[in-house]
Amino acid sequence: MPKVNTLNFNTDWQYAEAPESSDHVQLESRYGHFINGKFVAPANGRYFKTINPANEAKLADIASGSAADVDKAVRAAKKGYKTWSRTPAKERAKYVYRIARMLQERSREFAVIESMDGGKPIRESKNIDIPLAAAHFFYYAGWADKLDYAFPNRRASSIGVAGQIIPWNFPLLMAAWKIAPAIATGNTVVLKPAETTPLTALMLAKVIQESGLPDGVVNIITGAGKTGSAIVNHPGIQKIAFTGSTEVGKIIQKAIAGTNKRYTLELGGKAANIIFEDAAIDQAVEGIINGIFFNQGHVCCAGSRLFIQESVADLVIRKLKDRMETLIVGDPLDKNTDIGAINSKDQLDKIKYYLKIGVNEGAEMYQPSCRIPQKGYWCRPTLFLNCAQSHRIVQEEIFGPVLAVQTFRTVDEGIEKANNTPYGLSGGVWTDKGSKIFKVSSKLRAGVIWANTYNKFDPSSPFGGYKESGMGREGGLHGLMPYLELN
């Protein structure tokens, strides 16, 4: 093993706190559904609370959506569709552009609330989630009046009402991924944010209201699984777009069997990040860290399986452990924070359950010595070494800051192990050899491959899975297709 400089962590040096202020944030104590351009109380009068997972304090009461609320929203969307689908495309575009600009204008407020409601580090919500969400609206706004150029020899027309159900890991960004292409192409929307992170979607509803977007084009209903299933099963909906677990994706697919509803599913993943011996190791280590610990590992495309070529395994693991020792876990609103709060108690329990399984199955668990706050939901960044292909922590999606490490000798072995999963959302390749990048990238059965980088997203870049990671693409030209009828 080559000689490496060791890092000395045994010092008194501490980062000074650098909290983002939240005094400009205006939260209401209670939010209704956003239906037909207005905020309305839920039909059954029920609310649930959304909390800050970093301190378990209540942020607001949120309307609990019933079938009656969903029906009302679908009717509004249906009515809205009549005029929206006939609105000249260039006029539709202007509304969508407006939403993009208004999001940019309020990006700071959105970022703070996103971090408060979901637990993600402010650095990420500020630099990634919110700007990307705005960019998505901006990108698809421009497509509205150019659809005739997108699909050769086909006439594109809108579909109708889209029912959209999104997860809690990128609340505003996922809302943007769903709403922007749908309304730019002339459809109307009933969207349900996740029950643990509804706030930024509701703030988006306010932005939409202020933008003057015609009533009924975007409707937002809050609630849990039952509300989602009322959307999926509503006969007035022509298309379902779902982002979430593979398990729920399959339930949705079954529920709409025998109907003419179209669907796109963006589901779970267990991405392989493959490090070859000829990689730039320091860069690769940064990429591994970003790949699995970005957003506490609550990322469907997280690089949760690491494959290291045997000859550099000891070196990479050592550098990885060193790098993990420097990670700061704590207050999501602190700009120094690398890993924020786990999104909910349920999710924390699930992660802990998998940590136990990993240990029981015989993998070697490693966690750095970082302090974690007393209150709230926290998980130290975790490595599992000496994993086998059959381990549940290797096969199943954990959705937390937990990395399963394996090694390989030949390129073929690395590819075969990487593909040995029902999932196929994403993958990472680290090598300085160009031809190897292309070979490995084309052999990995996954929809997004990051070569010498990881977890990069862009509105113009199609995203979506192979195999049980889902079907359909979001982003780019390909992301228009799910919302269009091509004749």
């Binding site: 079954k254 069997a257 025998g258 070569a451 010498n452 870049s461 995203f463 979506g464 195999k467 780019g476």
Partner: protein, 317 residues
């Protein structure tokens, strides 16, 4: 052209029924009264022609109820063997260049052109009018040529270089979905079969196909054409048998990536849509299509069995 004239001049000699129909032998063709050699129609798995492992068969009858021949009645085990063959063939077939796959599909057209008469006879013997049979086979050959040309072009139509807002080179390309199960149309038994197989395999997929139950003859003869056209073993596997028995295995098998269903049975469609969720198969329902129409051939059918892969790489020194 020469072949065409030849067939036309022998129009009066075309038998109404298949030549291997013993009780209806055509005296005009068999002037010597010799005993004919009958063809056994078997299934096509991994480049070979086995009988069904189950040893079962079903009687194929023409529209008048005459017994034409016996067909293999494929079992679940036959289907599973076919999936193994198809899976094994995916990697090397999808590694072929588009140019090479185009050449092979063009070769299929050449082979079919030279064996046109046999296919017309088979369609006629299954009750299709002579005129429609000739049309169907001609259209099939032309469609093969049409798709051969797409093999190295659809990628350019459906790819993109994505102008991301950072210093990365980012592009998206279509890649084959993998193993595709095809329940071929019951009507349009030949052109419908070809119109579903070819777009799938030209995109680098492999397939397991269930032929028309009432008109299966051309499907098996087409397998002979495939075998002599440099289509590697396992790329196309063709079974004959009963949809009711086999379709749930097509939709439920965990190593099949997509299913194409071309018949119009709402209950069956719903059953497929439920069962295919087991491994999130891509489901393509292509019912009520006129497979003879020019609209039924287009590159979007190729795209149905493609996955879009996006690759990122930093730009820098």
């Amino acid at each position: 052209m020469k072949t065409k004239t030849k067939i036309a001049s022998r129009k009066s000699q075309i038998p109404r029924v298949l030549v291997n129909l013993p009780e209806a032998s055509d005296e005009r063709l068999d002037l010597d009264k010799r005993i004919k050699v009958l063809k056994t129609y078997k299934i096509y798995i991994d480049g070979k022609f086995p009988r069904s492992e189950s040893g079962r068969y079903y009687k194929l009858k023409d529209s008048k109820g005459n017994h034409i021949t016996n067909m293999s009645r494929a079992s679940r085990k036959d289907f599973r063997n076919a999936v193994v063959a198809a899976r094994n063939a995916v990697s090397s077939w999808s590694d072929r260049t588009g140019f090479n796959r185009g050449q092979i599909i063009y070769r299929i057209a050449e082979m079919l052109e030279t064996r046109k008469a046999q296919f017309i006879w088979e369609l006629v013997s299954q009750g299709i009018s002579r005129e429609n049979s000739v049309n169907e086979v001609n259209t099939a050959i032309d469609r093969l040529v049409y798709y051969a040309g797409w093999a190295d072009k659809y990628q350019q139509i459906f790819s993109s270089v994505n102008p991301v807002n950072a210093s990365y080179f980012n592009f998206s390309v279509p890649e084959p979905t993998g193993v595709v199960g095809i329940i071929a149309p019951e009507e349009f038994s030949f052109i419908g079969l070809i119109s579903n197989i070819i777009p799938a395999i030209l995109g680098g997929n492999t397939c397991v196909v269930l032929a028309s139950e009432s008109m299966p003859l051309t499907a098996i003869s087409f397998a002979e054409v495939l075998q002599s056209s440099d289509v590697p073993a396992g790329v196309v596997n063709i079974l004959t048998g009963f949809e009711k028995e086999l379709v749930s295995h097509f939709s439920g098998h965990m190593d099949v990536n997509a299913i194409i269903y071309t018949r119009n049975d709402p209950a069956q469609i719903k059953a497929i849509q439920i069962s295919a969720t087991s491994n999130l198969k891509r489901i393509h329902i292509r019912k009520d299509q006129n497979w003879m129409s020019p609209e039924s051939q287009n590159p979007y059918i190729i795209l149905d069995n493609q996955e879009i892969k996006t690759i990122w790489h930093p730009i820098g020194f």
